[in-house]
Subunit: 423 residues, 4 copies
């Protein structure tokens, strides 16, 4: 299914007058509104291929109709999101589920939909049918070299698939760890992991980046080999200049000050990528911004500051949504997540950085708080709508999605029992 420009233009018509009024009124209050609109309208977030079907927990999954059952359909779903939001022009693939049978055909299909290939993702946290060695007790960290070799080879293959499609980076999320004290020798596991990563890194084309995720627990519940940013950073430094740390918002212990970690990594030019979601308890993988929108704003404050004061040459981070859609329609959920991310970004762009610096230098804590809160409390809905409008997107993407009956169309096309491949 594809939505065309005209459908969106028709949809926008009814909302246009009110929108323009709002924009005029907002522009009076904020001087740099044009600049914010401009930045937001150029901003894009990658969609992972595994986010387009129903997610679930260990207690089960509740499906819904019209899920994409192959890579082409996944690209089409992202096409729908991108047409509505004009902020999702990339896909992040997961191997083995998204192995392209014909890379050129897939590239052409993606191009026709305006979609690029963002970071590739390998998978060694599950065993696949017919796989020689099991990852039950780890992959890159495994005590048995044969298992490590198999996991290294898989990662190299993922790079190769990515090269064929035009991707420029590999994200490694390592589920390796242990469930019980004593199960793993921490030092041996670390050394094995480092040595496996070195082999993968050696296979990386010179214009690629390697992103190393960290996570304190799940699916292992006693230890994870790469438990925190400190470990990821240590590994990345050992590997070389193409290696970076990737921050997933849900991969932290309770109460972690994530924005501080972001600042530290950017200070050293080591923040490679960002996985967006939200959570109240653990790696809950909820839609972005539903639990702690102020934290997200504070993170974007660091990102904005870091990108504008970039003495350490931090690359523009790879942005991706990584949520699990257990209850909502994944496409609606992704649209809400995109809006939440752009809301936080726009608000952060509204911060008066000069005034903030001055308050900080004077330790005027009350004033510094006021400056942040003033930006946060600004209603930026109109800014987001205008940014989309200028790219022929929808003023209100969720409403457009529903008015155009996208889900019904997908069910008609694909059936009620279609199930997304992948995790």
């Amino acid at each position: 299914m594809q939505i065309d420009k005209k459908q969106i233009a028709t949809f926008n018509k009814n909302l246009l007058v009110e929108h323009k009024e709002n924009l005029t009124s907002l522009s009076k209050k904020h001087k740099n509104i044009e600049q914010v609109i401009d930045t937001i309208s150029n901003y894009n977030i990658a969609i992972p291929s595994w986010a387009l079907g129903a997610g679930g927990t260990r207690f089960g999954k509740f499906g819904f109709g019209g899920e994409p059952s192959n890579l082409e359909q996944k690209l089409e779903d992202i096409g729908v999101i991108n047409t509505l939001t004009k902020s999702a022009n990339a896909v992040s693939l997961h191997i083995p589920w998204d192995i392209p049978k014909d890379a050129e055909a897939i590239k052409a299909k993606a191009k026709s939909l305006g979609i690029q290939f963002d970071a590739m993702n390998s998978n060694t946290f599950q065993d696949q049918e017919g796989q020689e060695h099991s990852y039950k007790f780890g992959s890159l960290c495994h005590t048995d070299k044969k298992v490590r070799d198999q996991a290294v080879a898989h990662n190299k293959q993922v790079i190769d698939y990515g090269v064929a499609l035009g991707s420029k980076s590999l994200t490694i999320w390592l589920a390796d760890g242990s469930n019980f004290p004593g199960q793993l020798n921490f030092r041996r596991a670390f050394e094995n992991t480092l040595s496996s990563l070195k082999e993968i890194y050696a296979h990386l084309p010179s214009d690629w980046k390697l992103f190393i995720e960290y996570k304190p627990y799940e699916p292992n519940f006693y230890s994870m080999v790469i438990q925190d940013w400190g470990t990821s950073h240590m590994l990345a430094k050992d590997l070389g200049e193409q290696a970076y740390t990737l921050v997933d918002l849900g991969h932290h212990l309770p109460n972690t000050n994530i924005e501080h970690i972001v600042a530290t990594l950017m200070t050293r030019g080591m923040l490679g990528g960002f996985h967006f979601n939200d959570s109240k308890y653990g790696d809950d993988d909820l839609s972005v911004g539903v639990i702690k929108p102020y934290q997200l704003f504070l993170i974007f404050n660091e990102l904005v500051f870091g990108m504008e004061n970039n003495s350490s040459n931090n690359p523009i981070p790879a942005w991706m949504i990584d949520a699990s859609h257990n209850l909502k329609d994944p496409l609606e959920d992704l649209i809400q997540s995109i809006e939440a991310i752009e809301t936080a970004y726009a608000k952060a762009l509204l911060i008066d950085q000069e005034a903030l610096e001055s308050a900080q230098l004077n330790n005027d804590v009350v004033e510094a708080q006021r400056i942040l809160q003033d930006a946060f409390n600004t209603d930026v809905k109109t800014i987001l709508a205008e940014a989309r409008l200028r790219n022929d997107g929808a003023i209100d993407p969720i409403l457009a999605f529903r008015n155009l009956e996208v889900r019904n169309e997908l069910i008609k096309e694909r059936g009620l029992k279609s199930t997304a491949t992948g995790l």
Copy 2:
């Protein structure tokens, strides 16, 4: 597969001399050793039917061979555990997975293995094939009366199955809740749940008990209708004298003082049951005692004190292991959990209650700590072995399990790809 007495006696032979020496030496040091052995030798823990196959996470599952594929085989597995440990003479069934086709035949089978039917467990956290209404948005709390009625009817049916088998209690763990702020009206959800529970309670035979679990999160990641013991207790009080709160060790927020909750519930005669496991992060469902053995000891301290000072007529709680066996052989894992529970229990029985009370009344904190730690630091392995020995169990059940090659036997019988039914 079944292990007979003689096999165990043969196995025990080699360990007997050393064991008796240890017992003699321990008896010299502790006066009330006989009493502890006696209590432990009469202690039994129920095994849930879903614990006999490989567990997993939302990221997948790693199977192993010889899993029981029907209720009869599950009973046999528990029979193996019980023959070795003499502490697992009951099974806790999960409906719909364990619906007995012929209740009388199953009762006879269980009886021949020395196994009783502990609490029944209903399941409304998943949809079953062909089910009319979905539990995607809740069951007993659902906004739609038709869904609630279906869930109530299921629970009544579970009671009926239990009656046929000789069970005397129903455990309700309610996954109902919400993933997003706004999704649920808390008050409406609570009232619906209470009213559904009242219907189920009305169906309860007069010699049955109803156990209400609580859990702060998972599978819902914003709110759970029965989020804590306070809510469970409130519901149980509203239902009537046959309703109790059930504590699952993994169902608490970080740092919760669980032993304090246990004491509070026993003070009011409201502790109905106990699900054992261990965890470092969330509801990790690890083997009992692998992360926080001292906490388990402190909980048993409360249980021992509460049962010995029972002015509130708290019933003997229903004991059950509720862990997920993601990496270990489930039978070995269950044996280790039983040993960990009995270790904590035996140590708690060694506490000098009189001396402790005296230290407490004098606020001699140093001495109170010493008394607890002295008991905890005592090596009670010999006590457990002797308790088993007196019941014809194995001195070292894990070693016996391995020497008798139980898993190989099961694989021979059932094949490598046999998969346990159930969650």
Copy 3:
């Protein structure tokens, strides 16, 4: 020091034109704006007497100048806050620090400043000079009846002081607990506490309320006698109809769903009061709304719903700020906290309750989220300003505070080294 109406009117003059424009533009968008302004303009939050001086941690305290050194000066400080915000017309006293030498004179002073006497607070977490028995090992829960009697007598005396001043409630925050496993017998401590509370309750005038706080830890770090709302609720039910639970935002374990607790208590008519602050880690006692403003909004959503659907006759909760001012000028900090509370309240009042109920009944999760977020993302600064303006308060209270150089005036009056009495 006192600020008079004219000073504020003069200050407001410059901001008036822009404010009126904002109001007009906002009124166009939101139909029920008048009603929200009205509710906010009638809303008041009590200021505790201990919040007017510098707070600190166990690592020390950094003072500032012009702190109020007696009860009269504390009332004057609250007078300043109230004149600026028109939302702080009450004080909450802490005995022994605020014992009025001449109750009638203090009442007259308060009246002249437009200040009422909110809940009284007793203190048994510290020993006072010359006190006969120490609270080192507890007060209402103490093993020694003489200590309990002393603590009960103190609470009765606090009630008597309150009666003399016209207060109508007593808040008990009990620091009682233990630092070490074994130190306390949980059951004995609970029974002693209940029996002490019964004595205090018996002394309560018939038109008074008793509020029972709960807290999981600090200053005791193993157990607290009243560790959670469940325990507080149990005690309150045992005491009688004048007893209620009081929620302090900082008194919860990591990740607690506080809004759910609020809803549960209101369902049963048991929410007596509310202490506002914010925190990232523990009972950090930061200014309201600085860390989790969305959580505060969700709590107000429950409060608004509960007060509008009050079948259980929950009283209007007693509202109080309870923060510690370690770095900011306490008066500025309190003003920021008041604004944060009213911001959350106003946003919650903007929620379209009818649309929300409809989305909930249809399990339209996406729509329910949109409704909440639309309200939350509305900029309500103008509503707050208008509410203040209608009561002759300041359009921008912090700016007014600084323009009027209040702190300098206070330092002139009271000196640089003046130290607030109390905690």
Copy 4:
């Protein structure tokens, strides 16, 4: 007050026969018992000078009698502990509270008591009387260079005092951070801190070590400049080969896998020191081993393994107790902490490392768990007693402390109202 050898010998007499019996029986079971006794008998833990008086919380402090009121008396208190336990032959000083008036005299006094000078501790988290610049808004990270210079100078002075006394290391615990989002620019704070540390490091004698602590929160409740081991490690690497990370057990977010951090630091030769205490919620500073003794054992497992497999040349870490004695007699509390540390150490030494490695290499998780638990469940009281006995210490130090009525003696000498200087 000083205890002499003869008093202890007399005390030991009554316990000797039973002790020797226990030793014989233990030696039969464990082959390497002699080696463990030997290691424990050579093990010493430093006592910080601030641990000898009553600790407290922000809610107050409950004193007790006979506190040491000067450095000499503090040394005497440590002398008492050391005479009894033979495991506390060093003191860790805190400047400005422990500035020696006459360094040579203090050195002589310490020598006569068998006490050495362990790491020096600077203090910039409080303002001292007459101090020119305030640390209210930070010290090494402060925006104002004059404040940073003052803090740097203080640290240099602490080094100088240490040189005079024969200390060989400086521990920096930095309370710098922020209470409110926006208060601090994270990057600026980090750069300022690094540059301040470089100045201090330049002043370090070539045979000294610098230990950098980390802590996620308290006394600042939004951010801490050195929030985690990753930040500490980054700073230490930047400074040079004499800089190391120091781990304080209480300085972690909920559920942190501390033993894993210890292993990672040792893998890189970067673990400089260790502060022992225990906690359930935050930096509770409870006596060692009272809450999570198994975690402590797992940490010692890493320490033992790391010291025995030391390819990275990690120095022997500086060991120190860092607890707060709010309820117990500090000397008794320190003795209990020493016993808890040595208990964990002895148990870790009993682990069959060869068998463990074999189980790990085979991924025999059940067996690996058994090996750890067998060691942990061994009662090592007798080993500790024997280690003390061989050094003329007390078989049961707490009992000896009470029999010798040490506290009464101290009160007689110093009075009931004597208060320890320092934090």
